[in-house]
Symmetry: C2
Subunit: 259 residues, 2 copies
Amino acid sequence: MTGVFDALAADRGRLDRASAAQRVAEVLRDHITEGLLAPGTRLSEEALGEALTVSRNTLREAFRLLADQRLVVHELNRGVFVRILEPDDVADIYTLRLALETAGVRALHSAAPERLAAVRTALSCAEAAEAVGDWVTVGTADLHFHQAVAGIAGSRRIDECMARLMAELRLAFAAVPSARGLHAPFLRRNQTLTGLLETGEIDDAVVELTRYLDDARAVIVRAMTDGPMTDGPMTDGPMAGGPMAGGAMPDGPVTGSAR
Amino acid sequence: MTGVFDALAADRGRLDRASAAQRVAEVLRDHITEGLLAPGTRLSEEALGEALTVSRNTLREAFRLLADQRLVVHELNRGVFVRILEPDDVADIYTLRLALETAGVRALHSAAPERLAAVRTALSCAEAAEAVGDWVTVGTADLHFHQAVAGIAGSRRIDECMARLMAELRLAFAAVPSARGLHAPFLRRNQTLTGLLETGEIDDAVVELTRYLDDARAVIVRAMTDGPMTDGPMTDGPMAGGPMAGGAMPDGPVTGSAR
DNA sequence: GCTAGGGGATTGTGGAACAATCCGACAAGA
DNA sequence: TCTTGTCGGATTGTTCCACAATCCCCTAGC
């Protein structure tokens, strides 16, 4: 009976057109994650308000939304700045990622089959993009893949949390040139992980996922600390022998700073 | 050399006093989590602005902050309402809690000892409050305890995430009268969990924690679905015949809303 | 009884104004 | 020369006001 309406209700969110603040936030968000607005850039209320033809009030609301997503930081009486991601932040992000994604894996047996199907779909998407050499899309698909893994848990809040983390990660990618080459070596590991999931080997999947995230974190942290300038030997092509640092394990405790 | 300055830099955060919007948000947050503002209550911009003597703009910024913490929901052209927590939400919260807290437990061996000490401290605090029969404090300490468990992971983001969840949970507690008696049976299990942690039995701790959260969720969900009105057989506690409790639902339409 | 329309109230957005604060520049003193 | 005190411009924080857009309830009309 209600099935028809449920289907409509799912798209209900599209109805209430976004407020001006939301639209402005979306535009800024895209610019930031695309790397068009470099981290550390100050977002002047007056200049931006004029550029986007919105009032300062509206713009400030948009800033709150972006600060909520941690894409900008708001310093009192100083303004808002495009977030600068420190290596510590990346390490921290991966800690939380591990918690969320393993939660998804561990929930595999009690999850709806569509959840696992979504993982496979994201993987296929990445493979297709790789075949064409479209590394930007590969990167996006990689994020979607891991979002799907966490999504196995079937929790709205976990999904939201992951979406945030992925947006933050884009910041890191934007800071690292040649980041597109970064995804290639990990695509294969996504494939093996998917295999383990589809055969229901939860424990093995958790182990593989743990190693995967450790390695990925190490690669990105090193790319960041090596200096965002060195664009040297990484802009390779398709085959790309994995540059993954094996036992890189940079620092131990990864204590959070004072923020 | 720089050690002295680093120590100062750690307290730097105390410098920037809060903006008006932040202060307003804090006041409202307290009122909401205390249950003074019942879920569903509409927060009129004009009325609140006059009551707090802040302008509508400032108030709207405060609303954004609260919406960020999921304590209120913002419906376009309709206003902001104190969040109504559905049983589904509680279940979802516990799913994420499980992921975060087990992440803490699993990180036990590589964590700094202070992390575990914080768990013990929170437990002692709860025990002390129980001895006096102060159930409100017991409830608060319980939340701190579990925050400390997740905190073992040593991740800033996990800590933040947990803090949010706990704030949301307070919403649920506020919706359930006699919630203060809810914590008593779980205090003992916190003790056994702490014991497992202190002896380093990670696997057993994870199992116990999983069961714990499952049970706690079931209790709260049932208390919610049984109807927040029926205050019948649950007001156990020492004696304390529920003083007000039931009178939570104030007046107004409190529209069911779709969300 | 139900639908359509009107009126009131509230929010969304823009704009202006002033206070508070920050930051850089310049000057005075050691 | 280096440090410290002071000043002024620029930006943000906050308030106030105005008006359009929207929602909600109430009433009239079929």
